[in-house]
Amino acid sequence: MATVEKDQIELDGELIDEATLKEIDAMKGAGQWSIVWRRLKKDKMGMFGLYIVIFLILMAITSWLLLMYDNWLTNAELIFGNPENPLSLNNLYVELWFPGMEKTSPLVLFNHPEYSFSDQVKLPPSITHPFGTDGIGQDLFSRMFFGSTVSLALGFIGQMMTVVIGTVLGSLAGYYGGLIDDIVQRAVELLYSMPGFILIIFIIVLFEDVNIPGGRYAVVVIFLSLISWGGVALIVRSNFFSLKQQDFVEAEKALGASDMRIIFKHILPNSLAPLIIIITLGIAGTIFLFAALAFYGFGDPNAVSWGDDLNKWQNSLVEYPWMPMFPAMMIFFTVLGFNILGDALRDALDPRLKD
């Protein structure tokens, strides 16, 4: 490759400085994703959102592992627990002991989310209970920590199922067109005319008696994905319309590739960028929807999740502000993190949209 003198490069009459040159050099031969990652890294807000999201995901995974398997460390025989003795399934505390501390009183990090201190009801935030205790003496800090599992998992699973259904239907409609496209479009129109929040409440009320593993929230997740795939399908469909005319699809067809191969191996990877944006922003929306459902009493009162805690203590806002405030704050920061990250990803994946 020919080398160019640095001071010879001019762009719009401005000399390019050394940093930009290095940047251009690094971009040479880089794949799409490394370029996206570079753009994202420069976006300070976006990185802030990414840190929030990573922190929350780590928190959700850690709390799930602690709750399910913490006695792997203490008692190897109880790997799968003893269903008849609930106490054998879980320890009641997560403790931390440093050399120099008394062995009988280690630092208690988290309590079991269902464990209530009957003598420590409605305590304001303090050192032993950083977020205070709620009306039945449960430590709110622990409940926020362990509640992240359900809250985040519902957002992820709900959005993933929505995206999968929407992508499949949208790509079929976009690739084949004709009758399939008509049917999908009419269905989307129908589902779009209903306010989703109202329709999902209607469905929860109707299907509350269904017994499937996972309880009430599993029913909600399934129906949520069945009614909210429309937006994804429309975007994937329009992407397919523009991509299926391109030369690489022609070439692939000439080589004799099957339709499924063209759809899933060639066109879909090329329309991944909008999907990633939809997933990130959609997770925020789904978490918000589940919080709203729980807030209005359509959640699962036995689940440990932020929305259900918020529902339980929403009327104590004036007397005991910390009780509803911390669950609400957790929901707020989660939605904020995913929204910021989604916006930053949109700017990074498609710079034309950037303000």
Binding site: R186, E189, L190, Y192, S193, M194, P195, G196, F197, I198, L199, I201, F202, I203, I204, V205, L206, F207, E208, D209, V210, A284, F288, A291, A292, F295, Y296, G297, F298, L310, Q314, L317, V318, P321, P324, A328, I331, F332, V335, L336, N339, I340, D343, L353, D355
Partner: protein
Amino acid sequence: MSLKGFILRRTIYIVPVMIGITLMNFTLINVAPGDPVLVRLGLIKCENPDCYNAAYNKEAIEMGLLDNDFYTIPWLSRYVDFLSGIANFDLGRSWYYTQAGEGIPISQIIKEKAPYTITLNVLSFVLSLLLAGAIGVVSATRQNSFWDRSLTIAMLLGYSMPLFWLAKLIMLVSFYLFDFTGVANKNAFRKPLFLNPEYYKFLILPTLALTLGGLVFMARLVRSQLLEILRQDYITTAKAKGLDNRAVIYKHAFRNGLLPIVTIIGSSLPGLLAGSVMVESVFGWPGLGTVFLEAALFRDFPLLMAINTIFPLMFLIARLLTDITYVFIDPRIKY
């Protein structure tokens, strides 16, 4: 085609969509597990199974599930009955809202409650549109200034704040500042409604919450639309021929930015309606949203069905209106 023909066609188009929606709701209610007759019967006290069966049959006949000879009425004919009921504005009787031992007709409940929802929604929709326009213009014309940055961050924070919690916080702040929680009481709804000063007093906080909810969504949209348009060539031309900034923004940029904004707002109306359900129930505003949530909590199936029909209808009409406004915004569009 003329505008009249377009409006007529779009109005007729509402009918098949509504049939699809009612069909979906009706199918859902029919495939749902559990016996609605049992829900309706509740905890009836009976000494022997005969009395119980008689009560069950009587209830089932009343609900239209069995005919007078105790034969099950087929699904399709029940659906046709339901549709003809809707066509005659007869939506059946509520299970939960009762008067003198009999359910209140649902059409009466809706006639009573709809004005509250409509005032609240229209008022906050107009307010949030105006404010969003102002904020969008301020942000877009002074891009990356202090005002733009702080407004963008405020919009992002508001966008991430759950609407129901925003409503609760507004309530809390108002309680500490003015000792007024805004939870509606009987005084607020004494007739005549529109001459009652109390009514407007209690309207303030729900409107504020709902306006903020819509505002944060729309302001982001207006800003990004305007920014995109301000970069176009014809804006440069307008500036080059010596127009002042105000004329460039309001005459050239704003009108062209309106079309995509109206499109997206039109398609996001169901979200705004859902927002009104959330806000209404927090403030105890006796509109359709509160009625819907109460009906859902007390498993009032006929009322749920009715509101599930009314809300899409309201949305479809609102979308028809947005489609018609296109014509006035963009003279290029001809029907």
